[in-house]
Structures are given as structure tokens and as C-alpha cells.
Symmetry: C2
Subunit: 93 residues, 2 copies
């Protein structure tokens, strides 16, 4: 099963960015400019999502954020760190 | 299977909002003030997600947006209309 899983991740063109909250990314499989651009934009998106959540429940917090578009899927896990995974939404045929 | 599915939706406290893009909501299972607040905030969130997506690919667009928090899950489907579904992330025990 592990091999099949690894193949499916690679086929979905998975790229990852790890960053400390509100800071410059630490690790990324994207080039430098894309990494900095995505890291900043995704942290703004998480901050806006957090404000939406906390407007109704100040004790609540965002755990994950997902954006599915026509050609990409972005999943952001938040906490002490921010981990963003970018991948194609569907396995290539 | 249909009954089990219906039960699981109700147990997850599902609430929905339908709105024309950029306009006041048309249908909602939430009260008026919560509906207007969520509709506006979620459309801002979709707009920001759209700008993140289109910065790298102007032809691309957001299909769905999901925010999972400690106590709620918000799923927004975009297109001609905006449909937002709010539910508890896990089935109540």
C-alpha cells in the first residue's frame, strides 16, 4: 500500500511549504519567489479565516483551510507552524 | 443508506446559506444577522482565495473553499451562486 500511496502523491505533483506562523518559510519544494509569495498570501488567508471563525466564537481557531480550484488544490494546516500542500486535485489519467 | 446519510447530516448540525455572488443571501437556515455576517465574510474569504489562485494562473478559479476549526467546518462552493454549508466536523458521539 505504501508504494501505491507514494506513487499517487508524486502523480498529483505535490509541493509543500513549511513556515513559522507570520514568518518567512523554512522549508519548501517550490522556488524561492513562489515560496515567499504563497507563504505570505496563505497566511493572510488563514488570518481572514480565523477572524471569520472567531467573530462567532472567540475561543475557536482554524485547524485546516482548503482551497480547491480548477487545476490545483491547496491545503493549509495551521498551529505553531503553517504547512501548506499544493497538489493537483485529481490523479493524472 | 439514504436514512443513515440524512441522520448523519442532522447529527452534524448542518446549516446552509445560499447567496448570489456579491449580493445579499437568498436562502438560509441561520437567523438573519448571522446569515448576513457569514455571507459577507465568506465572500471576502472566497475573493482573497481567488486572488491567491489567480496570482499564479489568471485563468484559474476557485471551486470550493473549506475551513475546519475546532468546533465547526465551513464548506463554500462558488460559481454563479455561493453555497455555504456549516457543520460540526465530527459526528456527535
Amino acid at each position: 500500500m505504501a508504494k501505491a500511496k507514494k506513487v499517487s502523491l508524486l502523480e498529483r505533483g505535490q509541493r509543500t511549504i513549511t513556515a513559522e506562523v507570520g514568518r518567512i518559510p523554512i522549508r519548501s519544494t517550490l522556488d524561492q519567489s513562489m515560496t515567499v509569495q504563497y507563504a505570505e498570501q496563505l497566511q493572510n488567508l488563514v488570518a481572514l479565516a480565523r477572524s471569520v471563525i472567531r467573530d462567532t466564537d472567540p475561543q475557536n481557531d482554524v485547524i485546516t483551510l482548503g482551497v480547491c480550484s480548477k487545476s490545483d488544490e491547496i491545503i493549509v494546516a495551521t498551529g505553531e507552524w503553517v504547512l501548506a500542500v499544493l497538489q493537483h486535485p485529481f490523479l493524472s489519467a
